[in-house]
């Protein structure tokens, strides 16, 4: 590394084990860019860190042993907040949101509050045989399902998500297809998300979508609407794995060297507010994982009269390079 450059570098927050990179904030300044909120159209709700899987790429360190799970009081406060605002999209995530007992009630309340309600599913929690009523509920309320499906290869999938997950995912997708999800002419939208199964960047979205469509249809008769490829964020369990496997420095260098100034305008945090299982607000789920609250202080959803103001600054740190590498992360 150029010694002159290293003197400008501050603590990146990635720890001593990681190489120093130019702080994200400084990179924005170098390109005369500011990351500010636009009009907030999406409310993202993190139901908690409880999950039936222990995925190695999880930025939240979610898993079966986690106790952080949204209670009914917070669920009510979030539903009241959604009523005070006119969000276009409500995006429910976790952990595995299916494991939270307040999920059904929230979906029923949200259905009249936003035209598009999405749920992020790992598929195995949905199809574990204990929650079949959720399939019908999702269909009844026209929920958009965003399902994790990293790879067409069983070994790759299970190296990221755990043994047995591949066949469980295939079974769940078939069940959703049977209900009409992903089918031509159906209003029930089924989208897949593919995260890389290691310390490398995602493949081209359009090429991957084309190949997944072809192979899923040919091998299992599965159909879907869209596929999104997202880079893994070097936080939580994924960061621990990067560190342990000796990939952390190179991965972060890859993300920062791929900084695309044009991607800044389209990053999701500009139009989203993310609320945690305990009701506090963040600019995105990654800042939630990192403990960087919106506006630099913990604000509870019950204190908010409306959506966050346009033009207010977004909390940034070096994990933000994930969303600005290449074509970006929306």
């Amino acid at each position: 590394m150029d010694p002159a450059k290293s003197s400008e570098i501050t603590n990146t927050g990635y720890g001593k084990e990681s190489m120093a990179i130019e702080p994200f904030r400084q990179t924005l300044a170098t390109h005369s860019l500011k990351l500010e909120r636009d009009q907030t159209t999406t409310l993202q709700i993190n139901m908690g860190l409880l999950c039936n899987q222990t995925c190695r790429h999880c930025h939240l360190d979610a898993g079966p042993g986690r106790k952080e799970n949204m209670n009914s009081e917070t669920a009510d406060q979030i539903a009241d907040y959604a009523k005070r605002c006119s969000f276009e999209v409500i995006d429910i995530t976790g952990g595995a949101p299916e494991l939270n007992h307040n999920l059904s009630g929230l979906i029923e309340r949200f259905s009249s509050l936003a035209p598009r309600i999405m749920i992020r599913s790992n598929l195995s929690a949905l199809n574990d045989g204990k929650r079949d009523h959720l399939f019908d509920l999702f269909k009844e309320y026209g929920m958009v399902i965003v399902a994790s499906f990293p790879s067409l290869n069983q070994a790759q999938t299970e190296s990221q998500r755990g043994t047995g997950v591949f066949s469980m995912s295939i079974a769940a997708l078939k069940k959703l297809n049977k209900l009409g999800y992903g089918a031509d002419g159906s209003d029930l939208e089924l989208n897949l998300v593919s995260n890389p199964t290691g310390a490398f960047l995602p493949s081209s979205q359009s090429e991957t979508e084309k190949r997944f469509r072809q192979v899923l249809s040919k091998k299992w008769g599965i159909v879907f609407n869209n596929l999104f490829t997202f880079a893994n964020v070097p936080l939580g369990r994924f960061r621990d794995w990067l560190l342990k496997s000796g990939n952390l420095d190179k991965y972060i260098e890859k993300l920062s060297s791929g900084f695309n100034p044009c991607a800044v305008e389209g990053v999701m945090c500009r139009t989203m507010v993310s609320v945690s299982w305990d009701g506090y607000l963040y600019d995105c789920d990654f800042n939630l994982a990192r403990g960087l609250p919106m506006g630099g202080r913990k604000i509870h959803v019950s204190e908010m009269a409306g959506p966050p103001e346009s033009g207010s600054p977004i909390a940034v740190a070096d994990h933000c390079y994930t969303c600005t590498a290449g074509t970006g992360f929306t």
């Binding site: 070994a155 890389p196 090429e207």
Partner: protein
Amino acid sequence: METYYKPEDLPKFEEIGKEAPDLADKFFDYYGAVFCEGELTEREKSLIALAVAHTIQCPYCIDAFTQSCLEKGSNVAEMTEAIHVVTAIRGGASLVHGIQMRNIAEKLSM
């Protein structure tokens, strides 16, 4: 340990243009164009490159195209099969020359 092959040399590849920039420009333009999507996808081209890298036993190429294959959505099973394809061709190329051996031996033998 000292070695002729150093991973940190791979990103310096473009330095080869310092003494002959016109030729290097032509090469890198061509190289870039070859790997763009055409009749073959970028993923398929990376798999071919990975396989050839094993045939020419270039550690730089193996490093670069292993990463490229993963980033373009290939899995290790596909990458391994691609290597078997070139291994079969390489082995077959040796073996098929056995026919020359047989022809010569037949001519010389009673």
